[in-house]
Symmetry: C2
Subunit: 340 residues, 2 copies
Amino acid sequence: MQFRRCRVLVTGGLGFIGSNLVRRLTAEGAEVTVIDPLVTGCGGKPFNLEGLERQVEVASCSIGDAAIAPLVERAELVFNLAGEISHIHSMLFPERDLEINTLSQLRFLEVCARLNRGVRIVYAGTRQIYGVPEYLPVDEKHPVNPVDFNGVHKYAAAQYHQMLSRMGRIDAVVLRLTNVYGPRMALDIPCQGFFSTYLRKALTGQTLDVFGDGEQVRDPLFVDDAVEAMLTAASTPGLPSRGYNVGGPEALSLNRIAAIVSELAGLAPPRRGEFPADRKAIDIGGYRTDSRKIEAELGWRPRTPFAEGMARTLDYYRECLPSYLDPATPNPPCKLAHSS
Amino acid sequence: MQFRRCRVLVTGGLGFIGSNLVRRLTAEGAEVTVIDPLVTGCGGKPFNLEGLERQVEVASCSIGDAAIAPLVERAELVFNLAGEISHIHSMLFPERDLEINTLSQLRFLEVCARLNRGVRIVYAGTRQIYGVPEYLPVDEKHPVNPVDFNGVHKYAAAQYHQMLSRMGRIDAVVLRLTNVYGPRMALDIPCQGFFSTYLRKALTGQTLDVFGDGEQVRDPLFVDDAVEAMLTAASTPGLPSRGYNVGGPEALSLNRIAAIVSELAGLAPPRRGEFPADRKAIDIGGYRTDSRKIEAELGWRPRTPFAEGMARTLDYYRECLPSYLDPATPNPPCKLAHSS
């Protein structure tokens, strides 16, 4: 894998996974440009790239903005991670989610296809498109049944990538990521999934809550492994497929996950409680990824055991916690460009 | 099936399938309201409901317009057929297609869910979502691989229907229709599929063209059969499924279809020619529907042989051809509400 002097464009590069990717790319000698408008609630934070201000150019505009054209034109490689990630936000503000996750992607990909025909694009998709699993582990043939607007809109964007690739206008691959955790995840957004909540509580000494019976499994993926999957997908010539499921190395119950986090953080054992109604509505039960396709075709596999990744995560935040505990913003919807 | 005095809302009710549905519902004694803003290029035409002006109320606004609220509120049943149907338009004007087929549907369904919780909605989906078939006939488990923006956007709208139904907010069913033909199809839109082109040529005495080797099969569905499928889906209590493929009774090659149309119209045999590039890009090869699920679960099956349906279609247009041969409009994109 050779990224030295490669001109790389990363959308959403101030966000959780994006900033970890940018740091890795920069360490490998790539010339990185970031597009990130820091949309409220989407997890972007300038602090995530602290220390790289001189090496990384950051454009503060939407990926749907015409101003990105020259950035797209000169890129040799694109990592496309911009997006709204909160499933709960998407149910409260579905038009905002459609604009961020679908309309902006449409505009962005049209620019890519026009100004940089055939460019390799790695798109951060989500396991959320599968909805309530009909079987476990979930492979790429699993039916698509999103339980929220976020899943519908992210799936439409994934289809843009794949359709335009079939036409030869871009050369994209979609990685459907399971629950990713690690340093630089936003902790100050109220509706961003259980890892964000667990970390915020653990780091501020609060006992964790587990909803339901806690036996729902997840396969958490450490962010460094997710970054490695993206780099692998970016650098494989003649991609065998346009879409891969990307899961973690272990299937753990939420009880077990909460227990490990609590123990690492020196907390009392987790409490069990009833699901809040808004979370129950989008709960999908258990989830475990079948990652055999990406393992077989691209040679990637997750390497970081959960306890190790979580220990590294907690260590990271202990050094800089205040930067991640800004007063929680009320997460107003973006003013929709098309609202009347 | 009992629609007498039923308050029915039909979106896209001035269009091809919509107007045939409205005529049938009216004949059954239903009280029908139509929403149709006559968007250029989408096939709506006031002439399609000629003679029903006193019986059918027509609201000339978008389904995404807040003004539809009272119409939704009082409906006992909704047929949702509004949409852009041209695959070629969608490639030329993808944002227009996203607005018409996805954003407007999102707004419409949110109103349905809020003001008429649990209302039965029959949505006119499309076989186009499946793209190039991986096997024939195509059943409901076939992977979704749209070859154009229209397919991506119609699929997102179908997912809205299904997701909101799983939540109990509406009670929708998606019918994925194959190529439908029959009276009241628009003939004056340049990019609307081969049936429109064949009919326009046949009725004006021009020889038909068949692109490629002409051996690609289709399973044309006569519009009365499509209407019957929608009524059946509307009136089945406790729907067994949320999505059905709906195909025609015969699989015919394009050569055969063109030959039948030419013979019925008294024309010379069809000519064979190369695909124009814009059509080749979205050609899907052969297509044949596996309709066994709707046959087994709802008891519907297509009944009209192609030669019979086509003869009735030609008879219809011979009576009123000038009304369908307006000078072809240049099909400018709608001014997008969200364009900057």
